[in-house]
């Protein structure tokens, strides 16, 4: 195999109406989401009516008035959806949540800079850009300057009543993997209530759906990435 997964992360994002200042470790402990020792080990970055950010083990929790997110780059990634399920499925069940996303971020290492260059040429051929493409393909210029695709995004819509949304995959060079060997793939699995919305479903309904489909969403990211690498002969 000529491609290796270096870092795999997930971020769950909820868009709605939140009260950031309540997400203090003492609240999590009081509600039974954290033990006393876990709450004591939390790194509190900021707690404010407009923004709270805390680091709990390998989880980074950020709450703003209209956005709540939880992220981790440490397996098992289900720890994120478990905490979301506890908070919004059991405790803050009246929280208005309008949209959500289960997003994966992966950094892959290819075997050589030439291979990554070739990968970029296959997903975004210079031939479709006419004379500009020819100019970018000038070997003397390209040697140093990494001409070509910087960001490529593809979106697929889906419907899973009463929910709907899209999968959007973005591919770009990785700035984490050194020596220009990396490819970064960011997938946004977006979820909202399928219109027309006659009665807004409650937070527990959305969170339960997210819990049930979480593993499938993660597996879907892997499948799409494998398909991409197979089709571009990276594998």
């Amino acid at each position: 195999m000529t491609v290796e997964l270096e870092i795999s992360a997930v971020t769950i994002v909820l868009v709605g109406e939140f009260n950031p200042k309540i997400f203090h470790p003492s609240w999590f402990e009081l509600q039974g989401v954290m033990s006393a020792s876990e709450a004591a080990s939390v790194d509190v970055k900021v707690v404010h009516p407009d923004l709270t950010q805390i680091e709990f083990g390998n989880l980074l929790i950020t709450a703003e008035r209209q956005r709540f997110s939880i992220a981790t780059s440490s397996a098992p990634l289900v720890a994120t959806i478990d905490l979301v399920a506890q908070v919004f499925g059991r405790l803050l069940t009246h929280t208005p949540i309008h949209q959500a996303g289960i997003n994966t971020q992966r950094h892959y290492r290819l075997s050589s800079m030439e291979q990554r260059h070739e990968f970029g040429r296959k997903i975004a051929p210079l031939s479709v850009w006419g004379k500009w493409g020819e100019r970018m393909n000038d070997k003397e210029l390209d040697k140093e300057s990494q001409n070509g695709v910087q960001v490529l995004a593809m979106r697929e819509f889906y419907r899973d009543a009463p929910w709907a949304g899209w999968r959007q995959v973005k591919v770009e060079p990785s700035t984490v993997v050194a020596h220009n060997l990396g490819v970064f793939i960011d997938k946004n699995h977006h979820i909202y209530q399928e219109p027309p919305v006659k009665e807004r479903l409650a937070a527990p309904d959305l969170v339960q759906y997210m819990s049930k489909c979480f593993d499938d969403v993660i597996a879907d990211s892997t499948w799409i990435e494998n398909e991409l690498f197979k089709a571009t002969d990276v594998f």
Partner: protein
Amino acid sequence: MLRISAFKERQLKVAANSEGAAAGVANNPEAMNIDDNASLLLPFTPVAPLPSSLTAIQEWEGYVTEIHETSFEASLMDVTRGMRYETEKAELLISDLSSEDRERLSVGAIFRWVIGYQTHRGMRQRVSQVYFRKMPDWSMVELAAVSKRADELLESLGLT
């Protein structure tokens, strides 16, 4: 009054969408020399990098079937292969669990067992980790929701 730094002010202005990036693993647009307009379209990046990462090579979901003095037995479902039912059994050491997870150890408890590569400050090693899942009892949540809807319906019909 808490003073919010200029960096945090930028965070507060992030567009309300569902895209997001985990701290420490997001691509940094400034490092890529993308122009300022393009960088505003990239996902929001939280403040601090995470201390390490654990990338799974193999992951199982299991439930505890029996507990012994120093070990416990479990039925396992291969999550990596996308299995939907248990096909394997294993015996794991209680000494491998954290103190919090030892308190969560009980027959029927659901956990994830991960084998993967842990990267910390540039160093990489293969590790095995067990995490006991903390999930709400969805049957109780559903019962509460149905009860609430029933109350609302009765109220709308003037029967309460």
